[in-house]
Amino acid sequence: MQEIISDKNWNKLGIYPIVDEHDIVKVRSIVRQHAKDFRMGIVEQTRITTAISELLRNMYNYANGGDVVIESGDIEEHNALIITCIDKGPGIENVELAMSDGYTSGMGMGYGLPGAKRLVDKFEIYSEPQKGTTVRIMKWK
């Protein structure tokens, strides 16, 4: 697991704070709009929007909110939409366990993180207990 750092060649499209549930809805529709701008089809749009929805809910439910950074940049020779969710919550003790299907530390179904990973092209996670969690998802057309 490596710390997640932005590439300076990436183009920053926006930073949004997540404070309450309404922010989840707001950022979700912003992400959908960006996906449309990337000329992604309806299925791809739904996938990235759902993936970001999972991450934002985790952030809101477990870490008391955080920040979302939306960027675009070249990933493995693809023009990708890059979304990074940064929180200063309790962190994840065992990332491997959290990434496995059906495991939940709270009230959820346990498919949020692994499900989000399956919905995107590239997924990175970095977490330090007591310090916070950073999750980055990347999707290209």
Binding site: E21, I24, V25, R28, R32, I42, V43, Q45, T46, R47, T49, T50, S53, E54, R57, D101, G108, M109, Y111, G112, P114, G115, A116, R118, L119
Partner: protein, 229 residues
């Protein structure tokens, strides 16, 4: 020489200037200096008068602005009240449960399902099931743009709760994109009866209704036959 200052006169005039300035400082902006005598002090007196004029104008302006701002603040506060009120109204409005046919309830879900809304939705549905005694409920999610694990979880819970009250739920309006997303997420909705469109769900409900009522009639018939014996 006429234009030269008379010391006694000058002292009085300076005292007068002091008086006027202190009244202005105290807030009386109607006071002005007399400038009918032309001498070395006249320029200062005129300058002070202009200053008082300017000050009066500025004060009036800022007072006006303050009033306007207060007005706007009031309006915004009123709007805020309206928004909160409408949000509450929307919560109620957004989960209308209707009986559309004998034994069949429909709950069209539109928009985002946050935890507060799903709670009200579930309460409304369960309440209506008890009130009407309907045993089939259709949850149409055509108007829900994103189904993530939380929404799916809420739907599962609602269906389970309805089942506990003796009603079977059918979920309709799952778009192809959402169907693929649900599969990738790994959520298992196979325990729920789902249909692509509301029309399909209605048809299914009618068929089930027919079976149910035919069965009932059949049963009653049998019972009667047994009675006859």
């Amino acid at each position: 020489m006429e234009n030269n200052l008379d010391f006694k006169n000058a002292k009085e005039r300076i005292e007068h200037i002091e008086d006027v300035l202190s009244s202005v400082a105290a807030g009386d902006l109607d006071k002005r200096l007399q400038t009918d005598i032309e001498d070395d002090l006249t320029g200062i007196e005129e300058a002070i008068n202009i200053l008082i004029e300017d000050l009066t104008y500025e004060l009036k302006q800022s007072k006006k602005m303050k009033e306007e701002l207060e007005d706007k603040l009031n309006k915004i506060q009123e709007q805020q009240k309206t928004i909160v009120q409408q949000q509450e109204d929307l919560l109620e409005l957004s989960s209308p449960v209707t009986k559309v046919w004998d034994n069949v309830l429909i709950l069209p879900v539109i928009g985002t399902l946050d935890s507060q809304r799903t709670q009200i939705m579930m309460e409304n549905l369960l309440q209506k099931i008890v009130e009407t005694g309907c045993t089939i409920a259709i949850l149409d999610i055509t108007g829900v743009p994103t189904v993530d694990t939380q929404v799916a979880n809420h739907l599962l819970k609602t269906v389970t709760a309805a089942r506990l009250l003796g009603a079977d739920c059918i979920i309709s309006g799952i778009s192809p994109a959402i169907a693929q997303t649900i599969v990738h997420l790994g959520i298992d909705l196979s325990s729920i009866k789902t249909k692509a469109t509301l029309q399909d769900a209605m048809l299914f409900a009618m068929k089930k209704n027919n079976q149910l009522f035919e069965g009932k009639i059949h049963l009653e018939h049998k019972e009667q036959e047994e009675d006859d014996k």
